[in-house]
Subunit: 139 residues, 3 copies
């Protein structure tokens, strides 16, 4: 049994940019030398989330549209009234989806479906350099 | 310390079918021989989610109704326009709720509340055979 | 490698009360003696959630407002019609956000952003005494 800590560096466009990090996660697991266990991918910031989606062009439009319904970018946010940074909706969306995803792995590969990708979603309203924390526990 | 990998097989009705898998999770933990640790239940597919709910008839109606508000089944989805499979809302709902749940366990039992059940929700629009991945890490 | 099980006791006001538990989580990790691993914070109840947020006054108003959009407290809930406890929306919100959060830690500290706090959200409609389950796995 062992733990392994690494990071995934990303350059995002912000504004609900959805980035496929499946290959990155696979490399993290392969690099750990672990065969079976849990891999947690965590956004150390309050305007980004990690989830899974079928990474195809239709859903890449549908997902941002759904986020607009849930936390509209043009609603009035107290966060904006206080800080004038225009990203109240970004914070709310990230808190709802959550900052992290825990992915099981076996045979040194993540247990994903064929049409299922791990994605980082940057809800912030500007381009960002992100450093996701990745911690694995297993054997 | 050890890891343990197993699966939970389910037959679902789709369409926001909510299935109580608490007993299955309990069996997985008992079968692992582990006493304390983390149990991750993961849907290896992009139209299902794992969460907890008080499994009673009222909420089994309220939860699908809430999902209709969040990602209506009759909205226009680009996913459907491309693939004609009618399950754009299924994907969106699953991405919002997330594919997995990590449940702590102690004394070889999940740390759940009395009125709290672990459920798999099949958001797809058809009946499905599902195989949930379950990985435990602990001692 | 080891596991460590402890709890965080809270007194909440209910009604979307958002409580900053970052210091509690830090203490749990420090108390475990572990340096690197995963920390799962779990609400053993079906009307509370754990997530992260920038804990500042604006968002503390925006988050409850967003929850009202997603699962309005004044909508008709079958749960209420059956049990007359007025907290149908509490259950739905908790199932959507999920009962738990898994936080990676390294150097015996949680891998959080500077403006990111771990919070427990009590969606129930009454004040509650809560005992969050915390299980860590690492080395």
């Amino acid at each position: 049994m062992a733990t392994y800590h690494t990071t995934i560096a990303l350059k995002t466009k912000g504004n609900c940019d959805i980035i496929d990090i499946t290959r990155d996660v696979e490399k993290c697991i392969a690099g750990s030398g672990l065969k079976t266990g849990l891999c947690n991918v965590f956004c150390a910031g309050s305007t980004g989330s990690v989830t899974t989606i079928e990474f195809e062009g239709g859903l890449l439009k549908d997902f941002p549209a759904a986020m607009e319904r849930i936390a509209p970018s043009d609603a009035v946010y107290e966060h904006h009234l206080r800080w004038q940074d225009g990203n109240g909706h970004s914070h709310i969306r990230a808190s709802i989806l959550g900052p992290s995803l825990t992915i099981p792995f076996a045979d040194a590969r993540p247990c994903l479906g064929t049409w299922q990708q791990v994605v980082f979603v940057d809800f912030d309203n500007v381009s960002r350099n992100r450093l996701l924390e990745v911690v694995m526990v297993g054997e």
